[in-house]
Symmetry: C3
Subunit: 350 residues, 3 copies
Amino acid sequence: MFIRNCWYVAAWNHELSGETLLARSILGEPIVFFRCEDGSVTALEDRCCHRAAPLSLGRKEGDHLRCGYHGLKFDSRGICVEIPGQDKIPPQARVRAFPVMERHSWIWIWMGDPATADETLIPPAVGLDHPDWRLKAGYLHYEASCQLICDNLLDFSHLTFVHARTFGGTNAWANQPPKIQRLDRGLRIIHTMREVDAGPMLAERGQTGKVDVFNVYDFLIPAILLLRGSRPPAGTVSVEPGENDFTSFSCQAVTPETERTSHYFFSWGPRKSADVPGLLDLMWRTALAAFEEDRKMIEAQQMRVDTNPDLNRMAIGADSALHSFRRLVDRLIAAEQQAGKPLQTPQAPG
Amino acid sequence: MFIRNCWYVAAWNHELSGETLLARSILGEPIVFFRCEDGSVTALEDRCCHRAAPLSLGRKEGDHLRCGYHGLKFDSRGICVEIPGQDKIPPQARVRAFPVMERHSWIWIWMGDPATADETLIPPAVGLDHPDWRLKAGYLHYEASCQLICDNLLDFSHLTFVHARTFGGTNAWANQPPKIQRLDRGLRIIHTMREVDAGPMLAERGQTGKVDVFNVYDFLIPAILLLRGSRPPAGTVSVEPGENDFTSFSCQAVTPETERTSHYFFSWGPRKSADVPGLLDLMWRTALAAFEEDRKMIEAQQMRVDTNPDLNRMAIGADSALHSFRRLVDRLIAAEQQAGKPLQTPQAPG
Amino acid sequence: MFIRNCWYVAAWNHELSGETLLARSILGEPIVFFRCEDGSVTALEDRCCHRAAPLSLGRKEGDHLRCGYHGLKFDSRGICVEIPGQDKIPPQARVRAFPVMERHSWIWIWMGDPATADETLIPPAVGLDHPDWRLKAGYLHYEASCQLICDNLLDFSHLTFVHARTFGGTNAWANQPPKIQRLDRGLRIIHTMREVDAGPMLAERGQTGKVDVFNVYDFLIPAILLLRGSRPPAGTVSVEPGENDFTSFSCQAVTPETERTSHYFFSWGPRKSADVPGLLDLMWRTALAAFEEDRKMIEAQQMRVDTNPDLNRMAIGADSALHSFRRLVDRLIAAEQQAGKPLQTPQAPG
């Protein structure tokens, strides 16, 4: 069960270029992405209406996509405009088309009713081309549900344990609960930890004394994390940082591939004005190692959940953000269902 | 759901020699094949009646097969003739035996009621030893249902798209529908295309001008394709070719391994009188590449079907042969069911 | 369906040392094993009560186990004694703890109600440190049910066929049924075969004449085989051997990992007083080859059973021991069910 009327990150925009047909499943539905001649992105059901062949095995012909099996040709609205060997094209000769937006270096897709697609609901992510930040982009595939990954991202107490050798290095993550603020479509989570160990990453750059940690992230529907942080030497900053005082930024997005597998898109990097040679490389090496630590734990957790899906689990204090976010998701799903089941095969626009 | 009262191709006859015990599943049933001393082929249920061990892990003893687990010995009718350590052999000590024929270089098996096995129903395939043709033999395993492969073989419009770099090279396959004739147990499909591009394979031999394409194949129950073809330079032949004018021949057979996997046996080659050095090699390289093109497409199609098995698909004109053949298959299955469920464990003959 | 109120072999005791956290599933339940500071072994449910992460991905802290995800700390009774970031620990903060015994070089686990764990029910196996025997230890993982492996071990007629090149070498195993005696919780199976071929293993040591074979093994609940054997030159021993006359010993244990996969622990070796250079190596090479012969056959058998789980199988005389043992298992399972379903989450002791 997923929220459908929202924007999911489907790809990095640099994954789509030239003649590329990108096949990717989102919420269990096979989709093919490609760029039209004007650079805009089209997302169609990746399954020909004729005999179910994946259209991603076909070829782009200008703004059209031709099935590689029997040659049916579809326009960017999913409407079949040519059937080889016959003149008449029946009206049901079409595949589903999905609203798509390219923004903040990501390709966003709307999986619900196209008529309700609302551009203003795209979260305020930060793209790779943002003037203030030097960001690198990554992707991981998860053999785990989107929910288990969200749970992870909504509770940084795990940094102390999972990431002791990467992001962590202090018990403060686990022992000092963050402030949690409700946002319109998500949560803001604020960690302010003073006089803590600098941790492995800063240590590698020679900063081994105590630091203050300022970490603020928004976690937004459907599963978008926007994080800014700074770790000045302890005591050098008396007030909490303003927007311009943060020295690092990370965008992360989790998108269900199926009920039990997920896409994980992420960027991280320093503020350009705070950048020094080698910093981004160090951050990136650290992040990749840390994200593998997460993946190992979460995929193992998923296997335990699979073995006993009905097992009761015991809540603890550190769960409050993730429970709050789960309730928000459940409310949005319930609201969608009350408003009528979203169209599985909506009319294409135009 | 399969037709049972018909002959399926189970193997190339050269797969069975000497002491070979060939284990192969047909219509989901594990079967072991071996040759008796007189060269005849026996097919038995590959599962001992004692503790279900595969008999194919045992050994041939003359015309008998001994289970490799506890030593029960079966004759070629599937009747147990020895149980080590005991004198009495109960009458239920037997495994199913299947009627088998060796013809046209293939081993054929009758999966229905043995009492109805009718030799005259073996399709008129062409063996590797036929005096007129120089044929090579191949095999592919498919992660796709027999039906999807039949669909492919019954609609050559896909040559234009799937085989653009091998068998195709002209839009005529897709744009000029074939003539379709009903046969007693199948269909005859006739492509006559004049003044078309010679295509990649002939081009590799320097024939780059226009050709006429004559292609005639029978597709027979259960899934046997018998194809003859010729591609003379355009305009050099005014009438359609007679049997002796075709310059290539292909036999192909699809046999369900399970509901969702298949065996694909095939041969192809030139008429001996039209053969020239290098021709068979070129044809064979082309065929292997083309059959991999098909397999890639059909296995991808199967995955899409698996994801949404109940999805409606839209028929087009090019489907008429395959729909006609499916109806024939359905009629034969219905007739079998009306005549009484075929025996799952029939009495062995004798 | 398994017997729960009995001791299963979970590991060789040398698998657990220092900081090792051994993750192993027994009867389908994920369990983590570790040694406390005093050397005693603890077995806990390998699934945190908080969010189902495997505790085996955490770390040992003295006699405690800390979850590697959010840091919950458990004592050796499975009781949570620390939740980072909060003071109060709810009473349901615990994981299941299993009674464990270390004996005869094996770690034994009691999968039923801990209150009924009865040390006297541990079978009288022989450890690697026994003064009389020089034993080597091995392990195989099986893609087959425990029952199919027990069936194999309860019917040595298969030595003639499966092990013709290793343990076998004579038809006598199949043709001369053993004596079978009932024991309190199992069976004793006695093979006495006079004037038979020495077989491949003895032949490799130059003993090619006839031998007498004395083979006695107990097969005990849940699936423990204790075997002593001797093969003196034919006619040199007129009476059956007493305990001290056997020249080889083997302990074997089968433990269900899941309904369809199993652990197989085994040791084998000569009596120290009968040992000669090279003998143990020869025995061990032979045993490993033979156990692979078994595994190949039994895993293939399992695949046939999977395909047709409801197939009737035909009993033969050689099955009497295995049917007798199955009936004993069924009686014990029925008795457990009559006595009340064993607790799935029993109170931890203390």
